[in-house]
Symmetry: C2
Subunit: 328 residues, 2 copies
Amino acid sequence: METEQTRKILAGDVRVAARLMRGIEDNLPEATVELQNLYKYTGKAYIVGVTGAPGAGKSTLLDVLISTFRKRKLKIGVVAVDPTSPFSGGALLGDRIRMSKHANDKNVFIRSLASRGWTGGLARATLSIIHVLDAMGKDIILVEAMGSGQGEVDISHLADTTLLVLSPGMGDEIQMMKAGILETADVFVINKADKEGAEGLKIQVEQMLDLIPLKENSWKPVVLQAQAINGRGIEEITGAILEHKQYLISSGGIGRRCIDRARLELSEAIEYSLQLNVNKILNSENFKNLAIALAERRIDASTAAEQVLNNVFTIKKSHKSTRRSKTT
Amino acid sequence: METEQTRKILAGDVRVAARLMRGIEDNLPEATVELQNLYKYTGKAYIVGVTGAPGAGKSTLLDVLISTFRKRKLKIGVVAVDPTSPFSGGALLGDRIRMSKHANDKNVFIRSLASRGWTGGLARATLSIIHVLDAMGKDIILVEAMGSGQGEVDISHLADTTLLVLSPGMGDEIQMMKAGILETADVFVINKADKEGAEGLKIQVEQMLDLIPLKENSWKPVVLQAQAINGRGIEEITGAILEHKQYLISSGGIGRRCIDRARLELSEAIEYSLQLNVNKILNSENFKNLAIALAERRIDASTAAEQVLNNVFTIKKSHKSTRRSKTT
């Protein structure tokens, strides 16, 4: 079903898209319906994750990456889910700030997501925003995320290409980084390359990468030096991203990443749908009464839980047994 | 239904109780059945939570508290859910160590719970262990938990009386503590009272407590100094615990705590039951096929999630609308 709203978003209407994004953040049912309409028009954009510890220079790098992609006439969307980022700083304060440099470029759309107090699943919201940008016709969607710490979105599950931004003076922190991050990044950027220790950091990263066994024909992560602040090394980074994209296309890896992303999205949607029902349950009279019965030892917890759930769901018999009737 | 196992646990059989506790940790279905049998015999024990940062001296305090309660002929159970505690240290290593001092006292039963990699809900397991100890006839059950940091069990939701153990040199950390902990503790213990700063810490805690408005007739938290290592101040702490117990009984608060605990247990049981189904879902063929359909844009995420869930659950109509038919 194609609505007026759908048509406007497909035409790149910034105002209508922004309204839908607010609806997504607020978990409005209308937003879910509109996403359903848009979904079939998505899947064209290339998703680049930019991750790294606060202070590594992710935002500055993003800024110059946008400029470089724009020179190539590519349309850009940005989702910032890093609460420490200047991009999303505004989100914490309840309003949106956009990078002034690209504010007047209608082919750049920047959106920040507040990651605190989020109930509907941050990865779920991020993917939904990506879909809107994708439907708007953005060629490249940059996702800025902290990529460390609990409760953060693991960007490598969302992105086609993952950039890890490091800077000198963070040598000790690398040791403490989850091995997972090193293993999932496709391009490493040693930012602030003019600073002392940049060369050592590069060697350290390369040594750590050497320890990770590479499968045959798999992508060998690239380690690049840059000075985002004055644009040095950015062409090489853009080149590496596009090269990795080319690799994913020729190796068929892009399809696998797409399916991984779909799995993540589906499991998040399932969790969310169940959570809505659980919230209903916890506020129900039935729950309150059974808690009292439990306190008075008139029932036990697992029996009570079963009763509450049976009041809401029927668990289908075919699913209780292990795959007997597959004829549904 | 009273089984041989039930009878043995009610008689305080340590070997049978320990086996059931292992079953609880391993999420064995038999353990759930046995807990159902035991449940009606529980609800007699008094639950005391002991929380505080690592290094504050929780374990030493527990040790002397056990001795003091034993002098009063009370039977004691201990559940240690603090991964940094010497009590539960063994749990992390896969085996159990017991405090040697009480190892030969059959009226003291100590159990540690490994809190890492726990899938079935730590609060749920803790409550189940508490029930077993309760059924065994323990008068007081001490629960040691870190009480700060994410993923920890919030002890104040489980306990009748909550002790917060602090020690000098932690002044800065108090500022950083969640206000919640200060508001939920009933007894504050300034341990290592011989150390410099103990008096200052006591004043600091009292000042912070003064900022929290007290309802009429509500319990005024007690701040006590102690030296757990040589038993100084322990009688006062034991006295404060029993005084708080008396207060809860006379004010009727004990019934409310019991219902709160039942609510927590019921919601944990519901979450666990749903989680089991979600895990099944994520491993199903149906899920995998729908993820591919999603990746190929043949379906959208919310519709796919609905399809997966409908394959497993039927959400009852009466629950979809807001309370119309209450005649079930």
